[in-house]
Symmetry: C2
Subunit: 442 residues, 2 copies
């Protein structure tokens, strides 16, 4: 294998054989193909694409690069939820304890921030002491004991994907359907699931702003799941604005805890409930979406979901006290309110600008080596379509310094547009995609 | 500067400001932008291009990344020749001593193999003891003393280009006109030349197989030269087959020495003479191409060109005895003749297959860290259009092992096609491109 020739072939529109992809990926996982060659290859794939055979070979190579969870001896079904990445999306933090508290196992492997989007792992790590670096054996034992583990990709689990995911983030090669599909599904298949619910983001803040691309991505993942006996259903949700209010790691953990306490922003609750209902139905734990919703409401009202979150945090070395007292989460030195410069209607809250804004404040990575400040970010009550008065509070900025408050203001001035026209944001929930086809909602 | 966003902008067809290119390139030269980000960026440039402003900014940034030669106190003109890269092209090894022996200074900075093509530096380093790692001061002193220095890019000289050149080689991002033009011209401008002759390769073995691309490249370099007061003329020469017979580092040094002794393959002599004549005319040392050719023939016949090569090798620590006795060059353990399987007409000798074949035998790099075996390669007497008998010798394979002889044979079976049709290879010399325009030859 002469790597530059493989890159050249893809660059010039050719295709790679499954054996070539396997060798390239496994050698990359072992560090024998350097990052710079993989980066050039991935950019060529951005322009030239991967067909279904190449995509499937990529996923199989990633799976072959590491080990998998073995949960086959558990008595209960195992489901997970995965999002294609958004801004302010903390549904995983809510769903993992919520579903696990209802007797369905949730082996949840999460990633770090990618591009402008946040990562569940970065959010979890804002909890003092929390570690997602579980071995497979530790994860299996924890799931057997408390029904859930929230783990990162260690070197054991699809290491090829782990390296490639970080590399894509740093090289603007994220938005490629077959790469996204193979990356997600390699991790999910290695979780040994009996079912998977996908949250596919739509709109300007998603990696794939076009509806047909989102549907193609859903279908690709449904096919990859089917090849390993894992049924997949996908829900298309709006990401033309941030989800919920909080954007930034510790701020999002606090908001997730609010929802588990029965409070929190309406849009966040609605998306979480729709995904959770699908998980429970797919697991066979509920006979209908309505029954599933009733079960979740009960788990929240009874406090069982909150207790499950405490169990998970404690099991993974974290300070479970943050659940009762979110004030124990890291807090930025400076907080300031950002107000409307004029009265009018919120035209847009640009999720990309907000996501990159969190990174600029120190809450995300600019390259693979960066460290994150978990405390910073925005809490944005402004939503597109909302009528606001002059000087009405729209956002609270959380920052490390006065200079960063100024930076935060200038980011928000670009990200939030107030005008006079009425506005129609994307519907929060728009389509289901399943093995049977595409089904619009409402 | 958030590098992934610059990559993303270029990827999506946008352009970069000169200040952005300058920062990206200078940070890359300092190691603060990693190779993998630059690799993805360069692949995006492969697909999206660079306009003239971006190209010029790239060259200026490369120049700003290092120091330059200062030859302004020399009494004689300073010219160099540069090729866009071919297989079997050892004209630099001949022209440097030849032109320097005629009272014109030749500050020649050379590169390593790139893609399937060889590099003058790799060839020179096959001479025992030879070092091209001169400081700028050493190079200036040597040029003042003997009229020529053959130097590599040290960390002093356009270090940004040096890193990027190696990276492009390893990432299949070589064939991009503005990158080629800026890379070459940054090095040539830093040589403090009074004139430059370009050898732009045409045909299947060139980086730019299309004639219009080659002419565009020539014009781009002429413009970049003009912006620094360095007149440039370009000769388009055939690279649909290797030049001369020898392909492989030490083998090519031996063939260059043959030419300086008045022997050697006709096609190699013809290209060398045309380029040398242009150098002498551009330097003002000859009033016409005919006068220049007569001067060169005299320098060869009198032995002065050969003595100059000995001086250069000795000045740079090499064993100058190789000039009189090329048997002192590294020699491969195994040599074997490759013969025609049938009678007929040589249809093609694929220079890419030959060039990559030399790499496969160990005579070139697969990635930036590889070391080269200078002894291996092919000596190919077969030329397209030549009528051959069955079992006629076409090539001598030089290899490190019996297994590599087998590999060499299989490479040649793919690279050399014998058929029955007559064949019209590209004309050896086809166009001159100067500031005045394009002029076809013959």
């Amino acid at each position: 294998m002469i790597v530059p020739r493989l890159i050249e072939r893809k660059r010039d529109g050719g295709r790679l054989e499954p054996a070539e992809i396997r060798e390239l990926v496994l050698e990359y996982a072992e560090g024998r193909v350097p990052d710079y060659q993989m980066a050039a290859f991935l950019m060529a794939v951005f322009f030239r694409g991967f067909d279904r055979t190449e995509m499937s070979a990529l996923m199989e190579a990633m799976l072959a690069s590491g080990k998998r969870l073995d949960l086959s001896r558990l008595p209960m079904p195992r489901v997970d939820k995965h999002s294609t990445g958004g801004v302010g999306d903390k549904t995983s933090l809510i769903l993992a304890p919520l579903i696990a508290s209802l007797g369905v196992a949730v082996p949840m492997m999460s990633g770090r921030g990618l591009g402008h989007t946040g990562g569940t792992l970065d959010k979890l790590e804002s909890i003092p002491g929390f570690s997602a670096a579980l071995t497979l054996t530790q994860a299996e034992q924890q799931i057997a004991r408390i029904g859930c583990a929230m783990l990162s990709q260690t070197d054991e689990i699809v290491p090829a994907d782990r390296r490639m995911y970080a590399l894509r983030d740093a090289t603007a090669t994220v938005e490629v359907i077959p790469l996204i599909a193979a990356s997600i599904m390699s991790k999910k298949i290695s979780e040994d699931l009996t079912g998977l619910v996908l949250d596919i983001k739509r709109g300007s803040g998603s990696f794939l702003p076009k509806l047909e691309d989102e549907i193609e991505l859903a279908k690709a993942m449904i096919d990859l799941g089917a090849s390993h006996g894992c049924p997949v259903v996908a829900l298309l949700t709006a990401m033309d604005r941030p989800l919920g209010h909080a954007c930034g790691n510790a701020l999002e953990v606090a908001e997730a805890i609010e929802v588990l306490k029965g409070a929190g922003p309406g849009d966040l609750i609605e998306v979480t409930m729709a995904l959770g209902a699908a998980m429970l139905v797919l697991a066979g734990a509920a006979s209908s979406q309505e029954a599933a919703r009733a079960m979740m409401v009960d788990a929240i009202n009874s406090g069982r979901a909150l207790i499950k979150l405490e169990e998970i945090i404690a099991a993974q070395g974290g300070d479970s006290g943050v659940v009762r007292d979110p004030g124990r989460l890291p807090r930025a030195a400076y907080a300031e309110t950002f107000v409307a410069k004029r009265e009018g209607v919120i035209q847009s809250v640009d999720p990309r600008a907000i996501g990159y804004g969190v990174i600029a404040l120190g809450g995300g990575r600019r390259n693979m080596e960066d460290r994150i400040d978990p405390s910073v970010g925005f809490v944005i009550t402004a939503k597109p379509g909302l009528r606001v008065a002059k000087d009405q509070s729209l956002v609270t900025i959380h920052a490390r310094s006065k200079e960063d408050l100024t930076l935060g203001r200038s980011i928000l001035e670009g990200a939030i547009v107030i005008g006079d026209s009425s506005v129609t944001p994307l519907p929060l929930l728009s389509h289901w995609v399943t093995a049977r086809g595409v089904e619009p909602i409402g």
